[in-house]
Amino acid sequence: MHEMSIAMSMIDIVREEMRKCNANNLRSVRLNIGQMSAVVPNALSFCFEVITKGTEMEGARLLMDVIPLRGYCSICEKEFEIKDYVFACPSCGTKKIETVSGQDLAIVEIEVE
């Protein structure tokens, strides 16, 4: 499963950010996991635990916020929740919408000491 390679990419980024602020220990990592990303939070948590064992990141908590799919309709000038993966404006029905959130996979914040 690719949660392992995603966890490894995460560790690379966190390590870089820790170096930037001269931090020695990691207490937690906060992630945004888009509703539409092919990532399972529990699996990611497990992989993170496994690969941080014995490192300066061991014991750090992984805090994950699942970000719902939201769209924006420029005709109605309104943001809305994309329900059941139907990519259309619920008010006017147009399919020309912009996906505002729910597709990304990002590290938002780290807590260090």
């Binding site: 990419s9 992630l31 539409m36 990519f87 990304d104 590290i107 938002v108 260090v112």
Partner: protein, 220 residues
């Protein structure tokens, strides 16, 4: 101490994919990332497409599988260059794996590169490899509920080829439901109904693909 980060976890792969894409543009290639469940007909589609288009289009194929070089061998028998990637367990291809094949392919004498991804209806959709677009195959034997169960792949693809339509009399599968549900997820999806076995519906795909190859973006 809390430190704001805001970085895309897949940035490393995205960067490599962008670099791949820049190279492809420089070499004047149209690149397609072909995905589907195992057994839906990716390699068969490539075989048929190569047979018909190879006199007009210089084609190269990158094959992705967990194990075995059977698919690359099948393609090589069609007389076009093919490179096999064995992931050994990774469930999808990524930008790095694609980049590692470049020295084995002659991009100077190629117009169209198709990457046949690992058979998997989930993970390949998440990872860019530098393609112009993603194409996917759904075969009628898989059932008409797949778009709603696997929305990401349908959302990320530009093209959906519904394969094995010759088997419709023998399975419970509604083409209308597949099309309706997949267009809700991706209103711009280009849909073809085909049978690699009988050849039905393939002319439309060949024509569409040929147009895209001819009109591809080339950065000189």
């Amino acid at each position: 101490m809390k430190v704001s980060v805001v970085r895309n976890i897949l940035e490393a792969n995205d960067r490599i994919a962008r670099q791949n894409r820049d190279l492809f543009k420089e070499k004047g290639l149209l690149v397609i990332n072909l995905m589907s469940s195992p057994g839906a007909g990716k390699t068969s589609l490539l075989e048929k497409t190569i047979d018909v288009l190879k006199s007009d289009v210089r084609i190269g194929i990158i094959e992705g599988d967990i194990q075995s070089s059977q698919d690359a061998e099948r393609i090589a028998r069609k007389g076009v260059p093919a490179v096999q990637i064995n992931t050994g367990g990774e469930c999808h291809l990524d930008g790095n794996m694609i980049r590692d094949t470049f020295e084995k392919l002659d991009f100077e004498n190629m117009d169209l590169l198709i990457v046949e991804n690992v058979g998997n209806l989930v993970c390949p959709a998440e990872f860019k490899v530098g393609e112009d677009f993603k194409a996917m195959i759904l075969s009628v034997t898989e059932g008409d509920d797949k778009p709603s169960k696997y929305p990401l792949m349908f959302h990320e693809s530009k093209v959906l080829l519904i394969n094995k339509i010759d088997l419709l009399p023998y399975v419970y599968c509604s083409l209308d439901r597949i099309k309706e549900d997949s267009l809700k997820i991706n209103p711009d999806l280009q849909i073809f109904q085909i049978s690699c076995k009988t050849g039905e519906g393939l002319d439309a795909w060949y024509g569409w693909l040929l147009e895209r190859v001819k009109n591809r973006e080339v950065i000189l």
